[in-house]
């Protein structure tokens, strides 16, 4: 039997708790990172801050791998699952927007959250991770004999597209080519 993947616009309920937990963990780690600065012992601070930083990156960059399956198996539609995945990166972007707008204009801050490499890495990364998470969900469904086929063109395309963009943003020319392209776009728009 195929799992019900039809769109149920009103069905936010399965996403509320997982998303809240994910955002809550990120916020906790974010504020903990600030509080750790109070530690005087250099070695202790550095060790804890490094661990905290890794957890922060995982929470913002890889939460899709947890959020998507949890929301999915709580009965949400795929659209809700995808929106749930992007909730945390969106919250993080708002935080970045506020941070950046302290030093540059609102328009430039908007440019920052839309085009700078780290922002793109996070959002495009989610697309690929959604593909991975979806395949994981389908494997579980197949194990339950609820579906017959694991691989589909949509999740594979998402992974491919994500890897392709990540290559241009992060790997090609050590990421520097993309960095320069962004600067050139900025120059044409703002200078």
């Amino acid at each position: 039997m195929e799992h019900n993947t039809s769109i149920r616009k009103s069905d936010w309920k399965p996403a509320v708790v997982p998303v809240s937990v994910a955002v809550g963990i990120w916020l906790f780690l974010h504020f903990l990172y600030e509080i750790l600065g109070l530690i005087e012992n250099v070695s202790l601070y550095r060790n804890l801050a490094s661990i905290n930083w890794i957890l922060l990156v995982i929470s913002v960059g890889f939460s899709a791998l947890v959020v998507y399956p949890v929301v999915f198996f709580r009965g949400a539609s795929k659209r809700i699952c995808i929106l749930a995945v992007f909730a945390l990166p969106m919250a993080w972007s708002v935080k970045e927007f506020i941070r950046v707008s302290a030093t540059v204009t609102i328009a430039e801050s908007l440019f920052y959250v839309l085009f700078t490499p780290v922002q793109i890495l996070v959002f495009v990364g989610q697309v690929g991770l959604i593909g991975v998470a979806d395949i994981y969900c389908r494997i579980r469904l197949k194990q339950r004999k609820e579906i017959s086929r694991v691989m589909g063109p949509v999740p594979l395309s998402a992974i491919f597209l994500s890897v392709l963009i990540l290559y241009f943003v992060l790997i090609r020319g050590g990421g520097y080519d993309f960095h320069l392209a962004v600067k050139m776009i900025y120059r044409s728009l703002f200078l």
Partner: protein, 461 residues
Amino acid sequence: MAQKFSRREMLKGAGLTLAGSMLGSALPRKGFSKPKKPNIIFILSDDHRWNHLGIQGHPWIQTPNLDRLAEEGVLFDNAFCTTSLCSPSRASFITGRYVHHHGVKNNLHIWNNRNQTVLEHLKTGGYNTAFIGKWHMPGPLPELRGVDRFVTFTARTGQGLYYDCPLIIDGVETERKGTYITEDLTDYAIDFIREQQDCPFCLYLAHKAPHGPFINPGDISSDLYQEESIDHLPKWAHSFSSMANGEIYGMGLGTVEKKYKKYNRLISSVDLQIGRVMDELDRLGIADDTVLIYSTDNGLLVGENGHFDKRWAYDQCMRLPFIVRYPNGIVNPGRRSREMVLNIDVAPSILELAGLPTPGHMDGISFHSILRDEKTDLRDSFLYEFYKDFPPYTVPDIDAVRTRRYLYVEYQNSRLEPELFDVRSLVKNPVNILETPEGREVLPEMKRLLKHYQEEKTHGA
């Protein structure tokens, strides 16, 4: 026919000889002869933090050639750039002008070909000139008037590549497979020196190193500094702190420990190549007649206040390693100077050393008197300016004033509050003293000074 001397003349000559020998090393080696025009070599590195020299007490970096240069010349302990960013600072070095005059505000603003360079003036004064290395100013390559040899690169918008970096040699793009950029540029520099040894020459040699990404040359072992500790860095320098706040391009990917050691290896690699230039001068017998200046475009924060960047008005960013060696012109070599010298001072100083007048449009002041060990008060304060280099760097426009004791920083068009520092605290970690009793006492004078500079800037002075 042999010249005959009277007894009086003999005694006078002997007296002068005795006096000269007593003065000994306190005088330049050819102190009383009419000075001929010296050769000038200016070596500029990229992002070399001021205290990352063996002679400056760094716990483990090895810079034997730069240390030797300082021991044979003058080490300027208070050298600064007026804008701590590559392109603006480079333009200031070569023009002797502030950013608000030469117009290269950041790494995006295009060089104006109407700018006059120190090389142009030297050429007029009879010098053979070469610009070899990193130009790195936005826009097409300039029409460098008065430059006989122009070797540069445009890869990655002028940042260049450490390996296999194609060079533009007098306008002709040339593949350089199998080369490492610092060594390759030094080869061209040495070739130029060999060709020009019978004429006064000025060589402007601008290296890419130690700018990121930190890719080390083959002749520097990857084991170098491997076992060293980074305990001397500020507390904030945890393993991933350089990638916080989206700043993944400043030092690249990887842990701070690895990147910092690579950075130091790059400094040592620059030192090695400077040693080659010094050896060549010795070999050619022209070291005494050659002014050799070493500096960098700007410094680098390595964890202070959590930053790994150069775009802030802190000493770690604006302070420069600055060494001048000139055996025939420096009195009492091997000393340190506490005078405040700036990147904009290099061009007028070079012109004075070459016996040429300083054009009125230059903002800098010649530090020649410091080389002569004369009592000098070059300046008590200076203006630092920064024009935002966004994105992804989110440092706003800055105007700041630095005195011998204090640094006052105002962020323009930004929600960031002004800052005031006692410069003695800046070496460790900047601590804002604005709200302290000392800060409140000092603030009015610092604000007055900054306003004075801002008015000069606005009115084009």
